[in-house]
Amino acid sequence: MHQFVQALDWIFTGSNWDQVNFGTGIRGQLAYHVELSLISLVIATAIAIPVGLVVGHKRRGQFLAVSVANLGRAIPSFALLVLAFIVVSNLWPSLGFSMLPTTIALVLLAIPPILTNTYVGIQAVDADTVEAARGMGLSERQVLFRLEVPLAAPLIMAGLRTSAVTVVATATLAGFAGGGGLGVFLYLGFTQQGQQHILIGGAMLVAALAILTEVVFGGFERLVTPRTHSGRRTRKAQGQVPEPRAIAA
């Protein structure tokens, strides 16, 4: 257990937040990690939610949504990261070690869960309810934003949560493919002699950040989940909404 104690000691030593082995300290790498993850998540959301809304509202294009989800699952995240690094390094050699390759990989990785969940959530809204709304004179836009989006919101947030956790986890691997972030400490720990405390400490920081991400986004998810009359929040407000975590898988 003393490795874990040493690792905790390393984390809680203030100077390590400023500088580690004469390089960027924990604070810098953590900020970079979070920044990279947030940028990627925002871009992915900006792409995936509109597409999911349109495809889901038209109740068509299931093939597209399912293919994207399956492809996203079949391509290892690490492979995506390395491929993005190689492609960018070949096309623009000066950008190989910038944020660009990692961001591209993380965006591609974050799109499938958000897209699929948005699509499934919108599409799962009861067809009769939608017809009733149209009958009441709601325009297509109103049907989408006043009816379908609120009902699909918990599932869309579940997709965001899945993507956020995946992005934070995968950003770690960027440390092995020319990028920065907390993965750099794992890289240091593996490649330099006698740095096991940095290795284990880095892994602890990564795990803590992932769990924190899950908790924060889980909170967002609960915020948008409607309460039923019994006061218990339910995901089955429509009786149709699939289990978010089954999809998260």
């Binding site: 290892p76 969940n117 691997l173 290795l199």
Partner: protein
């Protein structure tokens, strides 16, 4: 040597020269995956049955497996090093722990979806609890269970590549070696082979599901509850 540096081998030349290496990495990758999913299933099945019968046990189980699922694989592999070293046991523990959430969720959803009428009919015919489980509930939950096994398998194939960090990454070793040597063909071979392995495994499991559930093919293939519950997963 100089000629080689000036004209690095093409991807086909490299594949031709390294067939046995590629095949051994592929074999290692498949072995790590199969063992992880098999152990995962052996743990998930009894746990799911308990959770299905005693619904109070379900939340803590999903809480714990969800926590394991949230910890990134790189971090988990590293945190296990002090206990199991740089061995393939470390990789397997990590891989198994990632299959649990997926498998348990799908098995429980499948079991819960078995119609009450069918169960009552079976009990009326004199089935004991054990017979009900093995002859009615589990067979009827099979599509959801296989859906879970498919997702778990495909995810595991992807996760194995991360095992490179402790030297047991299967095809992931080709990817990292190619990256370290700036030799793109090796990376591409590693990526293509691991995607292919995932797709082939998924296809084989789909065929297995069709064989195991011949009743599902007649008429509407999937019962309504399964469509809504595991739509994205079955796909």
């Amino acid at each position: 040597m100089i000629a080689q540096a000036l004209h690095p081998p093409t991807i086909w030349e490299w594949v031709g020269d390294h067939t046995s290496l590629i095949l051994s990495r592929l074999g290692q990758h498949a072995e790590l995956t199969i063992i992880a999913v098999a152990i995962g299933l052996a743990i998930s099945l009894p746990l799911s049955i308990v959770a299905y019968r005693h619904s109070r046990v379900y939340p803590p189980i999903t809480w714990f497996t969800g926590l394991m699922y949230t910890i990134p694989s790189v971090a988990l592999f590293v945190l296990l090093i002090p206990f199991t070293g740089l061995s393939n046991v470390t990789v397997e523990i990590g891989l198994v722990s990632y299959t649990l959430l997926i498998l348990i969720r799908n098995i429980v959803v499948g079991l819960r979806g078995v119609s009450e009428d069918v169960k009552e009919a079976a009990v009326g015919m004199g089935y004991t609890r054990r017979q009900l489980l093995w002859r009615v509930e589990l067979p009827m939950a099979l599509p959801a269970i296989v859906a879970g096994v498919r997702v778990a398998t495909v995810s595991t194939v992807g996760l194995v590549t991360v095992g490179f960090i402790i030297g047991h990454g299967g095809l992931g070793e080709l990817i990292i070696e190619g990256l370290n040597r700036f030799y793109t063909p090796e990376v591409i071979v590693g990526v293509v082979m691991s995607v292919a392995l995932a797709l082939v495994a998924d296809g084989l499991l789909l065929l297995l599901e069709r064989r195991l559930t011949p009743w599902a093919r007649s008429g509407t293939r999937v019962r309504p509850f399964l469509r809504t519950q595991t739509d994205a997963v079955t796909a």
